[in-house]
Structures are given as structure tokens and as C-alpha cells.
């Protein structure tokens, strides 16, 4: 009963975020394109190849593979769907002097114009002192005001984050319902699909790495695993609502690694701290070297956790997109060369995507398993010889 209410509340909240993004542009003429964009986004399928081709055509400038790749793995204000169609997203800024500013990203006109005293500079919002709608080339950046600005906009990655979390909530709460409704019976449908993975995380990750106290950490490990796995997979889908490189974003991996670090540090027992601060059975002068190393290790572990996931996913995206860009790089010299290379590029891209499917699981597993290992080391009871 309460679960279904909560689910409704969550979906309402989730939906209202989108509605909010549409309302944010109330008063501007971008309302209709925005709703059109949503409709198109739902109708559109594999528009991604055309997207790049159109870009090349419309811009009329030389194809820039580096920029294309960076645009795809980076974040953006507004979600570029295809061609000139962008889903505008709310820009939320807090300036210590100017206060809160909330407006649609469409006001920036793809980074060409200023709005509300802000503009886009190399993908990030900077403060300016210019009237609304001034061309960015005529505006100068107000460094002091930029420093005082906190950007908590709903960017492409944030929307992707909400979508993935919404999916997680929906899927697992319905699976949980299946467990209570059909208690003690054989699993069916999606429950059957996810149960082996849940059991895998429980038995092969948590139980084997943490030991008897694993149950307490299961919620975090399961959430982290499915969050990373889902977003890795969504990152492989080239069009909306996939396509955002969320698990390849360092801010996301930072938060995940930080949570692991906090869990480890908060739950560390006497045995764990004893081994970090004063390794038993080690002479004093060695401790002078060992203790700083151990303390450094304490921070290095989550740091490596953060870098590993970020680098693996980003690298995979860069490689797949590089192969893809080859088509257009060669296509610029001659259409024939583009088509010829296209066959091989496509084969390689498919191969890379297959590999990424594997990596999607492996990285989710590695992150969860290492988190479990660190937690296991922190809560391990002293071994009596």
C-alpha cells in the first residue's frame, strides 16, 4: 500500500521535473519547439548517424572529430537531440550577490546569446555584465561574479541521472512487490531476469568480500551496482534518453566513491584503525613510514575507484566514437573513401559496442566488488591465530 503511494509520489516528482523544464521557458517562443522536441524524441529512433552527418553539412565547416567526441562524452545545458533540435533544460544558478536565477537553456541560443547576466563559455555558465540577448562575442566575462556563481542547472547528465534513477525506482519497487505478492514462489518475468544478478551481488560480491555482516551493506552495494550497470548500458544507446555519458562523468564517480569512502570510514572498527595508524608487530621507525602510507592508501582506494570507472567508460566511448568519426574524416576527402572506411568503421564500432556491453557489466561488478572489499577490510574482526 505505502509502496504504491510512494511510487506514485516518485513518478509525480519525476514527471514534474520535466514539466518544470517546460514551464521554465514560459513566456518565450521556445515552448512549442520544446514540446515538439519531446514528441520527436519519442518518435525518433536511430537518428544518431544522421545527427553527425547533419552537423557536418549544416555547419559547413571542417568536420572536427575531437569536438564531436568531447561534446558527446561531456555535459551540456539542454539536450542536443539531432540537427538543430535541442531539448531545452532548466538552468538554475545561485549567485551570492544576484541570488537565484532559473530560466530555460534555450535563452542562451546554443551558447550564442547572453541571458539574465549569464552566458555559456566553453560549455559552462559564466557571469557577464551585458543586456539579455547580446551576442557572446560582444560580452566580457565577469570573473568575480563567475566565481560567486554556483551552477546547479538540470543539465543533460542530470536529466539522464533522474531518468536512470526513475527506472531503478520503478523496476525494483515493482520487483519488490512481486516478492511480497508471490512470496515463496518461483520468480517470473523481470523478477526472474534480475534475481540472478541480485543473487550474484549478494553471494559473490557482498558475502565473499564482507563476510557475516554483509546484510547491512547490501542496499548500497545493490543500488551502486544497478546504478552503474544501468547507466553504462544507457550510455551505449546513442539517442535520447540514452547517450549521456553519466558513469563516464567524474562528478558521478566521485560521489559514488565518496559514499564508499564514508561507509568504510564510519564503519571501520578498532582492528581496521589499528592497522592503519599503528600496524601491530611493526617496529616504531618503520611505522613512521608505514602509517603515512596507510593513511594515504585510505584516500587512494576511493580515488582509484573514482578514476577507474570514469576512465573505463569514457575511454570506451572515445574509442567507439573515434571509429565512427573516421567515416566522416575520410568522407570529407571523397564520398567513396567515406563509404569504404564506413564498412570497417561500422564493424569496429559494433565490435567496440559489444565490448562495451561486457565492460558495462565488468565495471559495475568491479566497482561494487572493490567497495565490498574495502568495507570488508573495515569491518573484519581480528583473526585469531
Amino acid at each position: 500500500m505505502s509502496t504504491s503511494n510512494l511510487l506514485h509520489a516518485a513518478s509525480f516528482l519525476f514527471g514534474s521535473l520535466f514539466v518544470g523544464s517546460v514551464f521554465a521557458q514560459h513566456g518565450s517562443d521556445a515552448l512549442d519547439p520544446a514540446s515538439e522536441a519531446i514528441v520527436h524524441a519519442i518518435e525518433s529512433d536511430s537518428e544518431a548517424p544522421e545527427l553527425i552527418a547533419e552537423e557536418v553539412e549544416h555547419n559547413g565547416v571542417k568536420f572536427n572529430a575531437g569536438k564531436l567526441i568531447m561534446d558527446h562524452i561531456g555535459d551540456e545545458h539542454g539536450w542536443h537531440l539531432w540537427g538543430h533540435t535541442t531539448l531545452p533544460l532548466p538552468v538554475i544558478l545561485y549567485n551570492t550577490e544576484r541570488g537565484f536565477s532559473v530560466f530555460s537553456s534555450s535563452h542562451f541560443d546554443h551558447g550564442h546569446k547572453t541571458y539574465g547576466g549569464y552566458m555559456l563559455h566553453e560549455g559552462s555558465v559564466v557571469a557577464v555584465n551585458a543586456a539579455d540577448g547580446t551576442d557572446v562575442h560582444h560580452a566580457t566575462i565577469d570573473e568575480a561574479a563567475t566565481k560567486a556563481t554556483w551552477d546547479i542547472s538540470i543539465t543533460k547528465n542530470v536529466v539522464s541521472l533522474f531518468i536512470s534513477l526513475g527506472i531503478l525506482l520503478f523496476v525494483f519497487i515493482s520487483v519488490a512487490k512481486a516478492y511480497t505478492r508471490r512470496a515463496g514462489q518461483a520468480p517470473t518475468g523481470i523478477q526472474n531476469l534480475l534475481e540472478p544478478i541480485i543473487l550474484f551481488v549478494r553471494d559473490d560480491v557482498a558475502k565473499s568480500a564482507i563476510g557475516p555482516k554483509y546484510m547491512k551493506y547490501m542496499p548500497y552495494l545493490l543500488t551502486a551496482f544497478f546504478f552503474i550497470f544501468l547507466n553504462n548500458l544507457m550510455g551505449l544507446v546513442p539517442f535520447f534518453p540514452g547517450g549521456a555519458n553519466l558513469t563516464g562523468n567524474i562528478a558521478v564517480t566521485l560521489v559514488l566513491a565518496l559514499i564508499t569512502f564514508i561507509i568504510v570510514t564510519v564503519n571501520g572498527n578498532k582492528h581496521y584503525w589499528g592497522h592503519i595508524l599503528a600496524m601491530p608487530g611493526v617496529p616504531g621507525w618503520v611505522l613512521a613510514i608505514l602509517t603515512p602510507v596507510e593513511i594515504l592508501g585510505m584516500f587512494l582506494k576511493p580515488f582509484v575507484l573514482m578514476i577507474r570507472l570514469f576512465a573505463n567508460i569514457t575511454a570506451g566511448h572515445i574509442i567507439a566514437l573515434s571509429f565512427f568519426s573516421l567515416i566522416f574524416v575520410f568522407g570529407e576527402t571523397s564520398t567513396g573513401a567515406g563509404l569504404g572506411v564506413g564498412v570497417f568503421s561500422l564493424a569496429f564500432t559494433i565490435f567496440m559496442t559489444m565490448l562495451e556491453l561486457l565492460v558495462a557489466f565488468i565495471q559495475a561488478y568491479v566497482f561494487t566488488f572493490l567497495s565490498a572489499m574495502y568495507i570488508g577490510a573495515a569491518v573484519e574482526e581480528p583473526y585469531h591465530h
Binding site: M70, T155, V158, T180, A183, G184, T223
Partner: protein, 169 residues
């Protein structure tokens, strides 16, 4: 510059990620993971119980079968004994009846023989008596006729005397 922004975590994303991830973590922990993990645990326990019970039931069945066989064997043995007793009794009965019938028959025969002998003796005695009577009657008649004249009597006396004499010597 773009590459630098790639490894520089943006504040906005950290903010939203922390907020929403922790919220989802809390919601899932309470409404998804708890029932799922409990459900899994309960099901595993029930399966383990069921397997255990099945094993126990099998063992009980085996024990029951063994006992059944014992019972069957005992029953068979008992039947054998009963049959044997019955056969013995029957044989004895038959033998007894035969002996009794034989004895009765013998007794009857003996009585019949006795009767026959008695009848015979009686008949013989009667016949003797009748022969004696007839002989006396005949002898009387003969004597009446033959010894009418004295000469004939004398010759007879002589003859009898002579025979008695002959028998004496």
C-alpha cells in the same frame, strides 16, 4: 580546455547526484531491497526446509517399507505355522475317524459272526434233536415190524452180542 573540463567534476552534477542518489538509495533500501532480500531469504529457507522434509519423508518411507516387509515376513511365517497346524489337526482327525470306523466295523463283524455261530449251533442242535426224534421214530417203527417174531429177536440179540463182543476185544 575541453579535456580539462572532463576531469573537473562540476558542482551542479555533484549536487544533484548526491541528493538524488542518496534519496533513491534510501527509498530502494526501504521499499525494494528489504522485501527483495527478505523474500529471497525466506524462499531459500523454505526450499531448504522442503528439501529437508522430503529427505526425512523418504527416510521414513524407507523405514516404513522395512517394517512392512518385516510384518509381511512375520505374517507369512505365522500363516505357515497355522497351515501346518491345520494340516496336522486334519490328519489326526482323519486318522482318528478311520480308526474309530474300523473298530466299529470290526465290532459289528464280530457280533455278526457270533450271531451266525449261535444260529448255526442252534440249527445244528435242532437238527440233532429232530434226527434223534426221527431215528427213534424210525427205529420204533422198524423194531415194531422186525421184532414181531421171536426168531428174528433172537438173531438180533445174537448179532448185537456178537458186535459188542467184537468191540470189546
Amino acid at each position: 580546455m575541453l579535456l580539462a573540463s572532463l576531469v573537473q567534476p562540476s558542482f551542479g552534477l555533484i549536487f544533484w547526484m548526491t541528493l538524488s542518489f542518496l534519496a533513491v538509495l534510501y527509498i530502494l533500501a526501504k521499499f525494494a531491497w528489504k522485501p527483495i532480500l527478505n523474500g529471497l531469504k525466506e524462499r531459500e529457507a523454505s526450499i531448504a526446509d522442503a528439501l529437508d522434509e522430503a529427505r526425512k519423508a523418504r527416510e521414513e518411507m524407507a523405514a516404513l517399507n522395512a517394517r512392512n516387509e518385516d510384518l509381511m515376513r512375520e505374517a507369512r511365517e505365522e500363516r505357515e505355522v497355522l497351515l501346518k497346524e491345520a494340516r496336522d489337526i486334519r490328519d489326526k482327525e482323519i486318522a482318528g475317524a478311520k480308526a474309530k470306523a474300523k473298530a466299529e466295523g470290526d465290532a459289528l463283524l464280530a457280533r455278526a459272526r457270533e450271531d451266525i455261530r449261535n444260529e448255526k449251533n442252534a440249527a445244528i442242535t435242532e437238527m440233532k434233536n429232530q434226527v434223534a426224534e426221527l431215528s427213534i421214530l424210525v427205529a420204533e417203527q422198524i423194531l415194531k415190524t422186525k421184532l414181531g417174531d421171536p426168531a428174528a429177536q433172537q438173531s438180533l440179540v445174537n448179532k448185537v452180542m456178537a458186535e459188542a463182543e467184537a468191540r470189546k476185544s
